[in-house]
Symmetry: C2
Subunit: 517 residues, 2 copies
C-alpha cells in the first residue's frame, strides 16, 4: 500500500474515523486512498475554516480527534483562525497538510511556502515524514500527541511523494496517557482555604464543566459558600434541568472583577489565572484581586475532576449536589429582540440539544432563558477568533451522533464561514442556525466606547456598520441549499424554530433584531 493508504488505515485503527477535507492536487493520493478504508468518513468543506472548525466541534462532542485534510500552507492559513480556537479549547485534532513532493521543494513552485511556520502558531506537535514508510508511524504519533491530555492540535505535513510512495504499512495505535494526577498537598491546601472563612473563588476549566466536575463543584458551593465559576468561554459546558448549574466568569473585565472582588483565595481547577480578554488604557489586565492567593489545584492536562472530588470529599462530605430545577420561559410575543429570541429558544429547546453559541452581544439572554431546559451542552468561542459558529455546529452534529444542534450566530461572525451551511445540507445535519441580524459589529460599537478612543467620526463608525447593503441571510442560506426564513416578531420566531426543529436537516432563521447603537 502507499503512504496515504497506510496513514488512513492507521488513523482508523486508532479510532480516528472522520476526516473533514478541502483537498487540492497535492492531496489527490490521500483522496484516492479514502475508498481503501471503509470506516473512514470524509466530509467536504468548501473552505478550510469550515473544515477546522468542524473538526473542533466534532472533537468537543465525540471526545476524540477527527482529521482534517488541507492544501499546503495557504490551506492551513485559511484554517488557522479556527485552529486557534481549537487550541484554546484543547480540542484534539489531526491536521493532514499536503505538501509538494520532497524533491519538488527546491523549485519554489507557486504554492510553495513555509508550512511549518504557520503550523507552529496552533500546533502542539508538528511532523513531516519524508518517505512513505515513515508516514503511518507519524500518523500514530499524531493521534497520541492530539489525544494526550489536555488535548491539542497535531499537524502532520504530508509530502506528495510520501503519500504516493509504495511499500508502506499501517502502524499500531500508541497508548494514550490519562490526565496527570494531582498532588495531595494542594488538595489539603485548597480544603483549608475553603474552610478558612475567607472568601474563596474556585475557577474551573476543561472537564470541570461536565457531569462529575459540576457535581463536585456544586457540593463545594453548598457546603462552604465558596463561589465556583466556570470559564468565560468553555469548550463544552453541560447544563440544564437536573444538572448542577455553574455560573461563568463574565466577559467584561468590570463585571468579572466584581465576581472576584474581595477574594482571598483563588483556586484554579484545570484552567489558567483569569485576565482581561483585551487590554484597555488605564485598566488592569490581571483579574486576580490584590492580596488574593492563587492555588493551582489542577493545571490543564491534570485531572481537574478528580481534584475537585478530592477537595469535596474533604470539605463537603455528605453534601449532595443541587440540580437545576426545570423551567421554561413562555413563547415570546411582539416585536423581535435578542431577548425574545432567547425566550423562544428556552420555550422550545428539545431534549439533548447541543447549543453552539457565537451570538456575541445578541446572545446575552440565552443562557438564563435556557437554564431550566432539558439537559444540553453549550459550546462557545474559546479563542476569540470569530467565524467558528457554523463550522462548529457542523462538526458537533456529526461528533454527537445526530443530536439536535442549535447554533446561535451573530451576523458579523456568520459572514466569515458561511460556506459551512452547504456542508450541513450535503450531510443532512439537524442543525438549526439562528442568525441575529442587528446590522452591526455590535461588540465593536461597545468596545470602541470602552477603549476610550474618543467620539468616533463617520469613517470609524462605517467600519462597524453592516448595512449599505443589508445582508440577506435567507438568500445566503438558500444559496447554500439550506431552507431559511426570516422572523421579525416573537411569534414568527417561535413558529420558525418549531418548524425547523420538526423537520430533519439543516435550517436557518434570520432573527431581525434592533440595530445596535
Amino acid at each position: 500500500m502507499n503512504g496515504a493508504q497506510a496513514l488512513i488505515r492507521t488513523l482508523a485503527d486508532a479510532g480516528v474515523d472522520t476526516c473533514f477535507a478541502n483537498p487540492g492536487t497535492s492531496e489527490m493520493h490521500f483522496v484516492a486512498a479514502l475508498d481503501s478504508v471503509g470506516e473512514m468518513r470524509s466530509v467536504l468543506g468548501l473552505f478550510e475554516g469550515v473544515v477546522t472548525g468542524a473538526a473542533d466541534g466534532y472533537a468537543r462532542m465525540a471526545d476524540r480527534p477527527a482529521a482534517t485534510l488541507l492544501h499546503l500552507g495557504s490551506g492551513l492559513g485559511n484554517g488557522l483562525a479556527n485552529l486557534h480556537n481549537a487550541r484554546r479549547a484543547y480540542s484534539p485534532m489531526i491536521n493532514i497538510v499536503g505538501d509538494h513532493a520532497t524533491y519538488h521543494a527546491r523549485y519554489d513552485a507557486p504554492l510553495q511556502s513555509d508550512i511549518d511556520t504557520v503550523a507552529r502558531n496552533c500546533s502542539t506537535w508538528i511532523a513531516r515524514p519524508k518517505t512513505a514508510g515513515a508516514v503511518a508511524r507519524a500518523g500514530a504519533e499524531a493521534v497520541l500527541a492530539a489525544s494526550t491530555p489536555p488535548g491539542g492540535v497535531a499537524t502532520l505535513v504530508l509530502p506528495a511523494d510520501a503519500s504516493w510512495g509504495e511499500g508502506a504499512e499501517p502502524a499500531a495505535p500508541l497508548p494514550i496517557p490519562s490526565a496527570r494526577p494531582i498532588d495531595d498537598t494542594i488538595v489539603d491546601q485548597v480544603a483549608k482555604a475553603l474552610t478558612s472563612g475567607e472568601r474563596t473563588v474556585v475557577l474551573v476549566g476543561g472537564s470541570g464543566h461536565r457531569d462529575a466536575g459540576l457535581r463536585a463543584s456544586n457540593r463545594l458551593i453548598t457546603a462552604t459558600g465558596a463561589t465556583v465559576l466556570g470559564e468565560t468561554f468553555p469548550a463544552r459546558l453541560q447544563r440544564g434541568a437536573g444538572v448542577p448549574a455553574l455560573d461563568r466568569l463574565q466577559y467584561l473585565a468590570e463585571f468579572a472583577a466584581r465576581q472576584l472582588e474581595g477574594a482571598r483565595h483563588l483556586v484554579l481547577a484545570g484552567t489558567k489565572s483569569p485576565a482581561s480578554f483585551f487590554a484597555y488604557p488605564d485598566k488592569a489586565s490581571d483579574l486576580v484581586p490584590a492580596g488574593c492567593a492563587v492555588h493551582v489545584l489542577a493545571e490543564p492536562g491534570q485531572d481537574a475532576v478528580a481534584a475537585l472530588e478530592a477537595v469535596a470529599d474533604l470539605v463537603a462530605a455528605g453534601t449532595e449536589p443541587v440540580p437545576a430545577p426545570p423551567a421554561r420561559p413562555d413563547r415570546p410575543r411582539g416585536d423581535l429582540t435578542a431577548e425574545r429570541v432567547a425566550q423562544a429558544l428556552g420555550a422550545l429547546m428539545p431534549d439533548d440539544t447541543v447549543v453552539v453559541d457565537e451570538a456575541n452581544t445578541s446572545g446575552l439572554w440565552a443562557p438564563a432563558a435556557t437554564a431550566g431546559c432539558p439537559p444540553h451542552d453549550w459550546l462557545t468561542l474559546t479563542g476569540g477568533a470569530i467565524g467558528i459558529g457554523l463550522p462548529l455546529a457542523t462538526g458537533a452534529a456529526i461528533g454527537s451522533g445526530g443530536r439536535p444542534v442549535i447554533c446561535l450566530e451573530a451576523d458579523g461572525s456568520a459572514m466569515y464561514t458561511f460556506q459551512a451551511l452547504w456542508t450541513q445540507a450535503r450531510e443532512r445535519l439537524d442543525v438549526t442556525t439562528i442568525v441575529f441580524n442587528n446590522s452591526s459589529y455590535a461588540v465593536l460599537n461597545l468596545e470602541l466606547a470602552r477603549v476610550g478612543a474618543g467620539e468616533p467620526g463617520p469613517k470609524a463608525l462605517d467600519m462597524l456598520d453592516l448595512t449599505r447593503p443589508d445582508l440577506d441571510f435567507v438568500a445566503l442560506a438558500q444559496g447554500c441549499g439550506v431552507p431559511a426564513r426570516r422572523a421579525t416578531t416573537g411569534e414568527e420566531m417561535a413558529a420558525a424554530l418549531e418548524d425547523a426543529l420538526a423537520e430533519p436537516g439543516p435550517h436557518l432563521i434570520e432573527a431581525v433584531v434592533p440595530r445596535a447603537v
Copy 2:
C-alpha cells in the same frame, strides 16, 4: 497625537491612502484615528481574505501599496492565502496587524498567539514597534520595504498600547529605490544567444508584461525568431488590439515542455526558472530542457524592461513591434458552454477593462476570445491559493480609479471569499462577476487522473463534487446585495453581460456550463 494617528498620517504622506480593513477591539484606536486623516479611505471587508486580496488587486492596478487592517494572529491567518498570492505577485502591501498591548502579552489572553510566525510565511519585512513614538517610523519603513522592487508584503504588528499611546509624531516618507540595474555583460551574452541560430526562449516576468516590456519582447520575436513567453500566471498582463501580444507558458507541464522543447538557451527576464506547478510521479519537476543554458538577464527586482530594451537595441535595431489586430468574436448562440461565455466576453468587453481571471479550467477559452478586444489588463492567480478572484476584482476596481472590472470566477474558488461581493456593493464598484458553475472542482478531476492515483472510488469522487446541494450563486449574490441573474444559453449570457456592463455598480452572472467529468 497618538501612535495610530501618527501612523495613518505617515502612510498618507507616503502615498498610501487606502486601507482595506477588518478590525477588532485591539484595532479600535486605529479605526478611531481614520477620521483624523482626511485623505485615507477605509474599505470594510467582512472577512480578512477579502481584505488582503483586495489590497493585492489595488496594488496591481495602482502600482503602489494599500494598507490592510487585521486583527491579531487569527485575522492575519484568515488573510494568509491571499497574502501568499500577493507575495507571488510581488505586490506591494502594508499589513497593519493589531496586537494586544505589550504588557498584556504575559497573560496569554484568548486571542494571543504568535503573530510573527504567521507573518513570516508571507512577509519580506516584519516589525513590531513597542511604543507610540516608534510607530510612525516603522510605518515609513513598511512603505519602503513594500515598495522596494520587486515589491512585497510588509507586516507591521501594532500593539494596542503603541496605537493608543500619546506623544507620537508622523515620520517623513523614505526614498524608494528604483529597480536594480542590469549588467551589460549579460545583455551581450543574451544578444549572442538570440543571434546564434540556436533555439532561444525568453521568459519574461513582472514589468515585462506591460507596455514597454511587451514592445521590446515583440521586437525580439520579429527580428530573431526567438520564442518569448510570459509567465503562466502573470500579476498583470497588458493585452488587446494595438498591444503586442505575449503568449504565456502553459500550466500543464506536458504543454509547457512542448513550448520549451529543443531550446538551447533560456533567457529569464524578471522571472524565475520554470518548474512544474505540482510534482507528479515519474515526471520531471524542472521544465528546463536538458542541455539548455539558462541566462538570467534580470532577476525579479532588477529592471527587466531596461534589460529587454537593451537586448532589443542590439539584435532588433530598426524593428518595430507588431501590435495585435482588432478582432471580436460574434455573440454566442445555443446552450451555454465555457467557450461560449468567453465568446460573449470577447464580443462585449468594454474599452479599458480589467479582467480578473480565476476561472481555472473554465477560463481556458477566454484569452483567445479577447485577444483582439480593446486594450485591457489581465490579472491572474499568481500563487495558486484559490479564492482570490472576487477580492482581487474588488481592489482592482478601486486601484484602477473606476475602470470596468470583469471577474471570471470558478464555482469552487468563488466559495472561498464570496463575502467580497458585499464590499463591491457597499463601494458601488463596477465589477461584473461571471461565475462558471460546472458543479465541480473540475481542475481536481483533471489532476486526480494526472497524478496516477488509480481509478477513483465513490468517496474520492465525492470530494470533487459540488452538487448535493447545488450552489445557487444568484441567491448568494443577492444575499450580499449584488444584483444577479443566471444564464443557460449564449444568448442569455450575452444579454446578461450587456445589461450588467450598462448599469453602474456590481453585478453577478451565474453561467451554467456543462458539468465537468
